[in-house]
Structure formats: structure tokens, C-alpha cells
């Protein structure tokens, strides 16, 4: 994708992130809220990758340090993916457990732990 400016990616990422935020705000189904969080994570990933592609800092040429600086964005995305996978496994497990307990998953009703 030569010729696409960096800010186009960033704008797209901001749009996706904002839509994810709106979803978290207005949805009452925890699974969909969860999906919107995944959407926000992916928007952040897109920013990371766009920055890594178009704006990785040039250091001393050819050294290992420079190489690792170039890879920082991708490493962040790898870890975001790992964290998202763990999060989904535990989060969906929790939602299933709550459903089994209450037979209802409306997030506004989950207030039994409120003091």
C-alpha cells in the first residue's frame, strides 16, 4: 500500500475506536460489549502497525538495536493478541457462569456485588 499517508490509517483507527466506545456505552449485552472492546483493541493494533510502518525511528544503521526499534510496533500487536485471547477465554467463561447462575445476562442487572 504505497502512497497511503500515515494519517489515513490513524483516522481509520480513531473511527473504529470511537465506534467501539459507543458500543460499550449503549449496549447492555455483555457479549456485545466484549466484542466492542475487541474492536477497540484492534483499532489500537492498527495504529501500532501504521506507526511502525511509516514512522519507525531511524537509529544507527544496521545495528541490532535499530532492528528491534523497528519491530516494537509489531511486538505490541503480538502481545495485544495474546492478551485478547486470554481475556476472551476468561471473560466468556465468566459470562457463561453468570448466565448459569441467573439465566439472564443483562449487564445493568449484574449489581449483586454493589455495596
Amino acid at each position: 500500500m504505497e502512497g497511503i499517508p500515515l494519517y489515513a490509517y490513524l483516522l481509520l483507527s480513531a473511527l473504529l475506536f470511537a465506534i467501539g466506545t459507543v458500543g460499550v456505552l449503549i449496549k447492555r449485552n455483555p457479549i456485545i460489549i466484549f466484542m466492542c472492546i475487541e474492536l477497540m483493541l484492534n483499532a489500537a493494533n492498527l495504529s501500532f502497525l501504521a506507526f511502525a510502518k511509516y514512522h519507525s525511528a531511524p537509529l544507527a544503521a544496521g545495528s541490532l538495536e535499530q532492528w528491534q526499534v523497528h519491530m516494537t510496533g509489531q511486538m505490541a500487536v503480538v502481545f495485544v493478541m495474546a492478551v485478547a485471547a486470554a481475556e476472551v477465554a476468561v471473560g466468556l467463561g465468566i459470562i457463561m457462569a453468570i448466565f448459569r447462575l441467573r439465566h439472564d445476562v443483562d449487564i445493568d442487572e449484574m449489581s449483586t456485588m454493589r455495596g
Binding site: L6, L11, V22, I26, E38, M71, M75, A85
Partner: protein
């Protein structure tokens, strides 16, 4: 308009529309499918930026496994019917969309706007930096501690999800 610009625009439009679909769809299954489309197209955006490994991991991890888990969960809880949950009132919804719009405007004017002047459209990353070999190389040299911590996190995630999902009777 060059071919790449056109491709980017198409992907961007599909991404935004499918993300919007996640929020507005009435049935959770439709939401999840919309998100599947979103993640799938996002992978192609990564391919376009020469991120071979991350693009394919995006398809494998997000569309292949995570979204499948979501769909499975939705069907298992029988949330497929649209009328299982009530939507919040119109005022709340419009307020949320307003907040979202403000977020986009603020970020684009204050953060991305100034960048438009100093960032060009020529990539500065070196050749072959998105390939499996280079990602693996740096994952196992510079970021090996993070990698190990992530693996421990995944292990804890496995154990935790088994414990949470287990029946206690």
C-alpha cells in the same frame, strides 16, 4: 486515484460500516458476524502494509478462534433472538453517539491533524520487516521476557477459564 488508494478506501469503508454494524445490529449473531468481517478486512489492511505474519495471525486468532468462541457462546446462551435484551433509551443512545463523534473530532483535530504536516506517505520501515523470520527473531531476542510473561498469562487464562466454567455440583 491510484489503484492502491482505491483499495484502501474500499477497505476503510468496509471496516467502518462493519464496525458500525456491530453496534447497531439487532441480533447478537449479526453483530458478531459484522465483527468477523471487520477483523477479516483488517487482516488485508495488514497485508497491504507488508505485515505477512501479523495479518495471517489476525485471521487465525481473531476470525478463526476468538470470534468462533463468541458465536459459540451466543448460541449456547440462546441470545440469538433480538428481543432478549432491551435497548437503552433514544436519549442515551444519541448521547453515546455524540460522545463518539466528539472523540473522533478531538483525536483527529488535536493528534492526527498536526501529524498530517510532518508525516509523509513513504514508509520508513526496512524491507522484509513483517515476515515471519524477522518477527520471530525479535520476539525471541529483544522481547523474550514479554513473550514468556504472555505465555504465563495464557496459561493462567486456560486454568482460570476452566475453573470458572466448571460446575460445582
Amino acid at each position: 486515484m491510484t489503484l492502491t488508494t482505491f483499495a484502501f478506501l474500499v477497505m476503510a469503508v468496509v471496516l467502518v460500516l462493519s464496525a458500525w454494524g456491530v453496534v447497531v445490529a439487532k441480533s447478537p449473531v449479526r453483530s458478531a458476524l459484522s465483527l468477523v468481517v471487520n477483523f477479516f478486512v483488517l487482516a488485508f489492511l495488514y497485508f497491504g502494509m507488508n505485515y505477512d505474519l501479523l495479518g495471517i495471525s489476525q485471521i487465525l486468532v481473531y476470525t478463526g478462534l476468538i470470534m468462533m468462541l463468541f458465536l459459540f457462546c451466543i448460541l449456547l446462551l440462546n441470545l440469538g433472538a433480538p428481543d432478549t435484551l432491551f435497548e437503552p433509551s433514544l436519549i442515551k443512545r444519541s448521547l453515546a453517539w455524540f460522545v463518539g463523534g466528539v472523540l473522533v473530532l478531538a483525536v483527529s483535530s488535536q493528534v492526527i491533524g498536526p501529524m498530517a504536516t510532518w508525516s509523509t506517505s513513504t514508509p520508513t520501515a526496512p524491507e522484509g520487516f513483517g515476515q515471519a523470520a524477522s518477527v520471530g527473531q525479535s520476539l525471541f531476542t529483544g522481547w523474550v521476557y514479554g513473550f514468556e510473561i504472555a505465555s504465563v498469562l495464557l496459561l493462567v487464562g486456560i486454568v482460570g477459564s476452566i475453573l470458572v466454567a466448571k460446575r460445582r455440583d
